[in-house]
């Protein structure tokens, strides 16, 4: 039987073939890809590693260096151009 903490959805089941039959092992799921909050496109260059690994990753791999890092480059460009044209 699996321990109660492994029954939650955060773990994924892996079935391994053994001589006696199949054996179930458990592994943590990876994080989802970071997405643009405007268009929903996946952001490039941001790691989707496990939480415990992300703690030790550098800041440059966790976010883009440009402004509005929650947006993709195309949406960011649109937003900046809109703002510039409004003020002008």
């Amino acid at each position: 039987m699996a321990t109660p903490n492994k029954k939650s959805g955060s773990f994924r089941k892996i079935f391994v073939r053994v001589i006696t039959g199949t054996k179930t092992t458990y592994k943590r799921r990876k994080n989802n890809i970071a997405k643009c909050s405007c268009c929903g496109k996946g952001l490039i260059g941001i790691s989707k590693a496990f939480n415990f690994k992300i703690r030790n990753t550098p800041k440059t791999k966790k976010k883009a260096s440009r402004p509005y890092s929650n947006l993709c480059s195309a949406c960011m460009r649109q937003k900046i151009i809109k703002g510039a044209r409004k003020n002008a």
């Binding site: 460009r77 900046i80 044209r85």
Partner: protein
């Protein structure tokens, strides 16, 4: 539209959203920019021109542009130029060698048998007995 002194906003890269002005026109595609951004070559498609034009000469220095920007109440942050640091040279490990020599000496001392030395000393002290002929 794009001329020397034209104020623009950069729309790409890490300097996106910052205000710059055109310092020099290189090609039909590229211009030299300076201001709140870094002084660098830039694609025309990565710039959004504004309605203002500053009075500067071609290839004006960063300080001249900075003065003009301050009159327009635009902040310009200067970054410190990086100084090159020399690579650390590898030095021979002198201390370890001395330790090795000591180790060798200790090994030699260890290999010497104290019993054998004692025997040798005893032999040297005792005079050699003269050979006696059995026939006599």
């Amino acid at each position: 539209m794009l001329e020397i002194g034209r104020l623009c906003i950069k729309t790409a890269g890490r300097d996106a959203g910052k205000k710059t002005c055109i310092v020099d026109i290189i090609d039909s595609k590229f211009v030299l920019i300076d201001g709140a951004t870094r002084r660098r070559k830039c694609n025309v498609s990565h710039l959004e021109p504004l309605d203002k034009v500053i009075n500067i000469k071609k290839n004006a220095s960063h300080e001249e542009i900075k003065k003009e920007f301050l009159l327009l109440n635009i902040e310009v942050k200067d970054t410190k130029p990086k100084t090159r640091t020399e690579r650390p040279k590898k030095q021979r490990k002198k201390k370890e060698k001395s330790i090795e020599i000591d180790k060798k000496e200790t090994k030699k001392e260890k290999t010497k048998n104290p019993k054998k030395d004692e025997k040798k000393k005893v032999k040297k002290e005792t005079p050699k007995l003269e050979k006696t002929n059995s026939n006599d």
